[in-house]
């Protein structure tokens, strides 16, 4: 019951996400007597049961923090049985399918259940997710997860190849989502499953899939076709120092501006590896460590022929730096309405 409602305290059986540091989140199911090993020391489940979610727990070598799962956090830790959808696409799917409590939504395939959790959250408590998966093991695993997460009442997980066997739904779905290799094969059954005014979405990595899907959608009377792509560009917050070049001026270097550094928010102390905010002097310096350590902040330089000691200043600022490498494509989302 750790997904369906907001809970203050952990209970036995809860799926708990342990925050163990930046980019290090693990899931566990609370069972009396069990022990979970983290890099900060052993953690007894009994220690957590009855304790509040979101409160730091001291281990012998550091702290961890138990979090109540949300669909977004679950997406980060779930066991991958297939490639999964992430929150950027999931958010758009839920939003553009116009889901709300009470909606009946259909999903094929279930995959690893990453999207399913967000779909269920949107239609709870009086709506329903019908999710289909042609791979029997995967379907069973997903069904088990939904039960464990306290979501069993809101979802029907079936093992079926919907391309061949259809959805067996008659104009009762408000929305339908397809993440299949050949979504166009399902459009006929999809058009039967949707109520008038229903929405459909397909996710496909390749443009050819989108092209065939769009044709099939038009052939079946779907309108308001929209094909889109959404990519998230995450930023890392950094304190940057760019040293001023010495022009050999006799006086201290004067520049247009002395950037004031944020006093209220000094760079975080790097006590832990999970420090998400990093202080970077010269980014390329980090890859040039073989050159001997030069200090770019305080440097003795020769000035105008006379070796005089002066403090070389730097332009300092805080920035949200874009990533060197990011997700460049996940898939195209195709949306349409059936009136």
């Amino acid at each position: 019951m750790s997904f369906a409602t907001n809970k203050r305290l952990m209970e036995e059986g809860d799926t708990v996400l342990l925050y163990v540091g930046y980019d290090n989140l693990v899931q566990m199911q609370l069972a009396r007597g069990s022990v979970h090993q983290t890099r900060y020391g052993a953690l007894k489940h009994d220690q957590l049961i009855g304790a509040p979610y979101g409160k730091k727990v001291e281990c012998s070598k550091g702290w961890i923090c138990p979090l109540q799962p949300t669909p977004e956090l679950w997406t980060l830790v779930l066991p991958h049985r297939t490639q999964i959808l992430y929150t950027t696409d999931i958010s758009m799917i839920v939003f553009q399918l116009h889901l709300k409590p009470g909606s009946v939504v259909v999903e094929a395939g279930t995959g690893s259940g990453s999207l399913s959790h967000a779909l269920i959250r949107s239609v709870m408590p009086n709506g329903r997710l019908h999710t289909f998966e042609f791979h029997e093991e995967r379907c069973a695993a997903a069904r088990k997860e939904f039960e464990q997460h306290g979501l069993g009442d809101y979802v029907t997980a079936k093992h079926r190849d919907v391309c061949a066997a259809g959805f067996e739904l008659d104009k009762e779905a408000d929305a339908l989502f397809l993440d299949l290799p050949a979504p166009w094969e399902c459009i006929t059954s999809a058009s039967h499953a949707l109520r008038q005014g229903g929405r459909i979405c397909t996710f496909s990595p390749c443009m050819e899939q989108v092209q065939r899907t769009c044709e099939a959608l038009k052939d079946h009377g779907f309108t308001d076709l929209t094909v889109l792509e959404c990519l998230s560009r995450p930023f890392t917050v950094q304190n940057i120092k760019l040293s001023y070049v010495d022009f050999g001026d006799q006086t201290e270097i004067t520049t247009d501006k002395k950037n004031t550094v944020d006093k209220a928010a000094p760079p975080c102390k790097k006590e832990r590896e999970d420090c998400e905010e990093t202080e970077v002097k010269m980014e390329d310096q980090q890859t040039r460590s073989d050159q001997g350590s030069e200090s770019w902040e305080e440097q003795t330089v020769s000035s105008g022929g006379q070796a005089s000691k002066c403090a070389v200043k730097a332009r300092e600022f805080k920035t949200g730096a874009p990533p060197l490498v990011m997700q460049g494509h996940t898939g195209f989302l195709t949306f349409a309405s059936l009136y």
Binding site: N6, Y19, L25, P52, Y53, G54, K55, K56, P66, L67, Q68, T70, E72, L73, T87, T88, S91, M92, V94, F95, Q96, H98, K100, P101, G102, A118, S122, M124, P125, Q196, G197, M207, V210, Q211, C214, E215, G221, D224, L225, V227, L228, E229, C230, L231, S232, R233, P234, F235, V237, D262, A264, A265, C268, E276, E277, K318, G320, T334, S337, Y339
Partner: protein, 457 residues
């Protein structure tokens, strides 16, 4: 749920063409201006949601499905392979403007007019197929008004701002959708929202809760525009979860003087008063928050002061008035604004504020959402303590710099994990046989989003 698919009086209805989305309220004896045509509210009532209409000579005609582009497509028979022999550009159209006007007056449908234009264009057949399609599309847009009337929802209402994103802090579909995900809003949540998005964020949050839970609208003392909440057609049961609390009372709430006091001054900072002054043409007075204007008692807190549609004022004026003058459904069942009624409403509002205050003091909000044109840093610092542990916080801002600051502040406080500061890139595609490509024009910014999970020591 009788004929739940028919438009009824008081409904807010979304008007949607291929490239335009508007929302207006349908009231029997009101005139609605659509694309230079007048329609009577009564004409729309009883129509099915989702039906496609064409405006023909100012009249509403139902479009028979699967027929809309047949005529035009059939004329695509002959087309030049390329445009090497095309000397002069332009249309070389034999029909004059007068001819077209005459046809319109004769009640000839837009569809037919476009067909005639194609026939009478000297250069049409020498154009490439691509140029022919483009030509037809252009002419259709000019001479045909084909649209659907749809039931409003968060996505469609957001679309009404497509051409004026500045009004909602550049909040784009991708950002709003992520804001709703990361905040984990669901039925039963207790959510606090600070927003300057005309109520669109509030409404979107309420839509996800279906009457179960609480939405606390925390508004700056002088800024409570949430007229878009109206447009969601919420039932009374769905609306009642919306509470409000004026942020200029936060200090007194924190130091315990607010809940203890009898709150006589709550009335003075009544958002409705603000709203009214805001709309008045007395800017100096408007700047004085919590003035002694007693006339603020009548409930106008849902009154839109600037609708999505005001860019097309000449055509949308009536719609806007229609939606603004009419109260929301929450009060639709209440008759005239008598004195007793006013008192009841004031009482109701005081109770909402008090309940909001109580929830805030419990410091266990299920989510905090900030999407405002005010400084988000100080808001976040001040409101974070009201959020429960293990609960998500989402801050949206049209600028990146304040969120970098928010990030640092939270990081330093040690009260956030799973912090993510991101912007998203959002592109639409044209998928047509042999002509698949991203649209030539795209949005350059949808704002920035900071999300994290609140934790405590």
């Amino acid at each position: 749920m009788e004929d739940h698919n028919a438009i009824s009086s008081g409904d807010h209805v979304v008007f949607k063409t291929d490239d335009k989305t508007k929302v207006f309220q349908v009231i029997a004896n009101r005139t609605i201006f659509i694309e230079k045509s007048k329609l009577r509210g009564a004409d729309l009532m009883g129509q099915k949601y989702g039906t496609q209409f064409e405006l023909q000579h100012g009249k509403l005609v139902v479009v028979v499905p699967h027929n809309s582009s047949a005529t035009a497509s059939n004329t695509l028979a002959a087309s030049g392979k390329d445009n090497r022999s095309l000397v002069a550009s332009g249309d070389n159209q034999k029909l004059t403007q007068d001819d077209i006007l005459k046809m319109k007056e004769e009640g000839i449908s837009g569809q037919d007019i476009v067909g005639k234009l194609v026939e009478q264009s000297e250069t049409f057949k020498t154009k490439t197929e691509f140029s022919q399609q483009k030509y037809i599309k252009k002419k259709k847009k000019k001479h045909m008004v084909v649209f659907r009337l749809l039931r409003p929802n968060s996505g469609l209402l957001l679309d009404t701002f497509n051409h004026s994103p500045g009004k909602i802090c550049n909040l784009r579909a991708d950002s709003l959708s992520q804001l709703l995900s990361y905040s984990n809003v669901m039925s039963g949540s207790r959510v606090a929202v600070v927003e300057s998005c005309q109520g669109l964020v509030l409404g979107s949050v309420m839509e996800k809760m279906a009457g179960d839970g609480r939405v606390l609208h925390l508004y700056p003392g002088n800024d409570m525009n949430r007229h878009m909440v109206n447009s969601f057609n919420f039932l009374e049961s769905q609306s009642k979860i919306l509470l409000e609390f004026p942020l200029n009372k936060l200090a007194s709430l924190e130091n315990g003087t607010f809940l203890d006091a009898d709150q006589p001054e709550t009335d003075h900072t009544d958002p409705t008063t603000q709203q009214k002054q805001h709309n008045s043409s007395q800017p100096t007075q408007a700047a004085v928050a919590g003035g002694d204007d007693d006339s603020g008692g009548n409930n106008k807190d849902m009154e839109g002061d600037d609708g999505a549609e005001d860019k097309d004022k000449e055509e949308a004026g009536a719609m806007k008035d229609g939606s603004a003058r009419k109260g929301n459904k929450r009060h639709a069942d209440q008759s005239k604004n008598g004195r007793a009624d006013q008192d009841a409403k004031r009482q109701e509002r005081q109770e909402r504020v008090k309940e909001a205050a109580t929830i805030l003091m419990e410091k266990s909000l299920d989510s905090l959402i900030i999407a405002t044109r005010h400084d988000p840093v100080s808001l976040l610092q001040r409101l974070l303590p009201c959020v429960g542990p293990s609960r998500p916080v989402v801050v949206f801002c049209q600028h990146k710099e304040p969120l970098v600051e928010c990030y640092s502040v939270v990081k330093e406080s040690g009260r956030g994990v799973q912090m993510k500061l991101a912007e998203s890139w959002y592109r639409h595609y044209q998928v047509l046989p042999s002509r698949t490509h991203a649209l030539m024009s795209m949005s350059g910014t949808g704002g920035y989003l900071l999300s994290f999970t609140h934790i405590t020591s």
